[in-house]
């Protein structure tokens, strides 16, 4: 596609409202956050913060019990576990949706979209109170009915991690199912027919035809989901870490960790240094995942 040359000044003038807003709300706060990260700003030094250099960074990265390294570790585990489950389950459900035996495909698809359509925070709060609440949550009601004693689902680290993973899968699967479903429908049927004639097994067809054909179609969606999972805040914050109603688990992702250090313990300087470290991590990550050869051409 050939692009027209235009007067650069005019282009910038017309784009300026958008670029100015981005500069004000995205770029400037990041620079300002970097500045704060070099100071000791907290409740005591609110009006007279002093520049203390990279001390906050040192505390985050080299003091083992600062909690940040643990949060990074948990965030990586969280991302890996969620991505694996999400891909496997979404792929299985999407494949079954495309089964020729299924009659009410559209109906099932619509119902499975609900978790995506619901406002995210409402769903999370409904899961927290409706399902996992230790007194009247549905899970414990069922357990009691079956004669077991009730469980405090969100009180210990492992069980809270599993509960949060369940909620994340519940929230994120519909998008992935729809993407894979769209991909599956775009694969040429004749590939499968000739493979069947050559005597290929179902598993062989999945590995040799379905997965290679899906890759370019679902690739961008997978990368985006990877980012959203890594940056997940709402689930862990709303389920376990709301001020005044912490449930007892100590799992933190890096984002909830940064948030709590700023808005709960008012350690603004330290929290800002965490933000900048996460920012650099995301930049490096984005640089390598988003600008692969194909994307480059599209720019």
């Amino acid at each position: 596609m050939k692009l027209k040359k235009n007067d650069s000044f005019k282009c910038y003038l017309i784009s300026s409202p958008s670029l100015a807003l981005i500069a004000l709300i995205v770029v400037f706060p990041i620079i300002y956050t970097f500045y704060i990260s070099l100071t000791n700003m907290n409740t005591y030094h609110w009006f007279n913060p002093e520049i203390i250099g990279f001390k906050n960074y040192k505390q985050a990265l080299f003091v083992m019990d600062s909690g940040f390294l643990k949060a990074i570790f948990i965030t990586i585990v969280w991302t890996a576990v969620n991505m694996v489950f999400q891909m496997v389950i979404a792929f299985s459900i999407a494949s079954l949706l495309n089964s020729p035996l299924l009659k009410y495909r559209r109906l099932y698809k619509t119902i499975l979209m609900f978790p995506w359509a619901m406002p995210g925070y409402v769903s999370i709060l409904l899961w927290k109170t409706g399902m996992f609440n230790s007194q009247f949550g549905l899970l414990n009601q069922w357990l009691t009915k079956l004669g077991f004693s009730s469980i405090r689902w969100l009180a210990s680290d492992l069980s809270a991690f599993i509960c949060c993973t369940v909620v994340n899968l519940w929230l994120a699967l519909p998008f992935m199912i729809m993407i894979i479903d769209g991909g599956l429908q775009s694969i040429d049927r004749s590939f499968y027919e000739s493979a069947t004639m050559d005597g290929a097994s179902t598993f062989c067809k999945a590995v040799k035809i379905t997965i290679p054909c899906l890759k370019p179609i679902i690739g961008p969606a997978v990368i985006i989901t990877l980012f959203t999972t890594f940056k997940q805040f709402d689930i862990i914050y709303l389920m376990t870490r709301q001020p005044g109603s912490q449930t007892g688990s100590t799992i933190q992702t890096i984002i909830t960790y940064a948030y709590e250090n700023a808005f709960i313990s008012n350690n603004y300087g330290y929290s800002s240094s965490i933000s900048i470290i996460i920012f650099i991590m995301l930049m490096v990550f984005a640089r390598f995942s988003l600008f692969t050869n194909k994307k480059e051409e599209a720019l």
């Binding site: 040359k5 609900f114 409904l126 805040f233 984005a286």
Partner: protein
């Protein structure tokens, strides 16, 4: 061709019925609880079909809580954010899609990198910025923050779609003497409707669901949005009003559910072509 095996058909349908049950589980639970006349939810004999139906929990939502005001607050925030977002993003997306100019490629690269940065990490800096501008606790302040947060998404998502519109159509219009503004209004906007609708809806859903800026930047329950209102309902009260909370959740979700399912056919195409998700 495969033979139709009744057992297989049965199994696959059972599988999807169970999957759908899980997809609806918390919503169904909240829904039936909200309609239950018996407010002592601690009783262990819960069933999905309430024994005595009653709308008193819904009545409580509208009478005891300023839900209508929260709704109006949310609606006005969403309305102005969507209008402002589209009116700054459409021209910029058009410029970045149609023309080549100095500095365009590096700007797009930087924007894509910045897009991966979650705004919550710079929230404290944004707070200080707004308080210096005297915009804390004002709706204008929140509209600016929301628009700025969604501006990169709007620009990149719509640029991606504009790129797919063949240049010949615009060239023909230009030969007939149409100005840039006319080209955008008469050709780009009608042809890019799916992408514009999806971008608008994503912005709307973002504002509707956003609570963390709303609770930190706005004080006083007359300024609450639906999201921050619901947030405080669950944070301040324990088990007693869980049925009312469920009713409020349902009330708050219905507009978004409606918009989502009405625009569903645009959703996949309008999002994936631009390569970013809101």
């Amino acid at each position: 061709m495969k033979k139709k095996n009744p057992l297989k058909i049965f199994t696959i349908n059972i599988f999807f019925i169970i999957a759908c049950f899980f997809a609806l589980l918390p919503i169904l639970y909240a829904f039936s609880l909200s309609l239950n006349a018996n407010s002592s939810i601690l009783s262990s004999d819960f069933s999905f079909i309430p024994k005595v139906l009653s709308l008193k929990n819904y009545k409580a939502v509208f009478v005891e809580k300023p839900v209508i005001m929260w709704f109006l607050n949310t609606f006005s925030l969403a309305f102005f954010t969507v209008i402002l977002s589209l009116s700054v993003s459409i021209p910029a997306a058009y410029m970045f899609s149609e023309f080549s100019f100095k500095g365009k490629k590096p700007i797009i690269r930087i924007l894509i990198l910045l897009y991966s940065f979650p705004s919550i990490l710079s929230m404290f800096a944004i707070y200080k910025l707004l308080s210096n501008l005297n915009l804390i606790n004002t709706r204008i302040g929140l509209v600016i923050v929301y628009t700025g947060t969604m501006a990169i998404f709007g620009l990149i998502n719509m640029k991606g779609y504009f790129d797919t519109i063949p240049n010949e159509i615009e060239d023909a219009a230009r030969l007939d003497g149409a100005s840039d503004f006319m080209v955008v209004r008469k050709i780009i906007i009608p042809l890019a409707r799916p992408s514009i609708i999806v971008t608008g809806i994503q912005v709307l859903i973002y504002v509707w669901n956003e609570y963390i800026f709303a609770i930190n930047f706005m004080t006083g329950s007359d300024k609450f949005t639906l999201a921050s209102g619901l947030y405080t309902m669950q944070a301040t009260e324990k088990s007693g009003s869980w049925a009312v909370f469920s009713a409020a959740s349902i009330v708050i979700s219905i507009p978004i559910l409606t918009i989502f399912f009405l625009s569903q056919k645009y959703m996949i195409s309008g999002l994936t072509s631009g390569g970013v998700k809101g």
